[in-house]
Symmetry: C2
Subunit: 131 residues, 2 copies
DNA sequence: ACTTGGGCTTCCAGTCGCTGGAAGGTCAAG
DNA sequence: CTTGACCTTCCAGCGACTGGAAGCCCAAGT
């Protein structure tokens, strides 16, 4: 199967598949006589795995780790869980940061009447000289 | 005042100040005879404004808009509020996305016993062939 | 007078994870 | 035999910096 078909079946764009190959996330695909990449159903499964992991926000590095564990029949599930829990922790930190920003902005926008006058607590806060 | 001092007072690194100048976010600073950038207290205030806006997650483009409105005495606070509300909406979308991922991962990690056995619902989910 | 150490300058490259586009080869159908 | 849809490689750019090299400037200490 050509790269376009593999892309359609895996949900990873052809461009991105080539990129993943170039950085070594997935092994280089075989080639036809004409030099076209040829994919097996198995390789498409790997791409789907990568796609799902990426869509859960795992970094490409994490995905490499997860792929390695996936292929390792003698893995310890604890290793997988550790990667996932680290990721959850990072997500929770990010959410907390965004929520703090969100609350600040909501407060500022509530206090800004938002009409055609120049007075604006948002700008005043950003411009605050004291600290 | 030299760039290092301006960096210390504004909380924006010297490197980043030069970068902001290079992309036109802030006007080019004056120069001493030796070619060193020279900053006034006013310019440091501008840098602090930028720093605060960036720390609230506004994009550099948004900051350019906010700076323009800040300098415009005849601005309408509605324009400022619009930028802020757009940003809040983007943050809320991001939080919702992260939270959905978080819930999925929490569920998966709860179901993974995390011991030295290979069985792992996390990998099984990522590898799912159906759908 | 000279050295030392810090600060300043520019410019290029790298980060992360792609994505777009140019230039050109291949293939199947009409 | 042409069209158009595929495929190939390679280079460049996104956002927002950050690191590092190479070289100039300046103030303080000996």
């Amino acid at each position: 199967m050509n790269i376009g078909e593999a892309a359609r079946r895996s949900g990873v764009s052809a461009k991105t598949i080539r990129y993943y190959e170039s950085i070594g996330l997935i092994p280089a695909a075989g080639r036809t006589n004409a030099g076209y990449r040829a994919y097996t159903a198995n390789e498409v499964e790997t791409l789907r795995f990568v796609q799902r992991a990426r869509s859960l926000g795992f970094s490409v590095d994490d995905v490499a780790g997860l792929l390695g564990l996936w292929r390792d029949r003698s893995r310890a599930s604890a290793d997988v869980k550790a990667i996932a829990l680290n990721h959850v922790a990072a997500i929770e930190r990010k959410i907390a940061e965004l929520d703090s920003i969100r609350r600040t902005l909501i407060d500022l926008t509530n206090r800004c009447c938002g009409d055609d006058h120049p007075d604006c607590p948002i700008l005043e806060t950003l411009a605050q000289t004291d600290r």
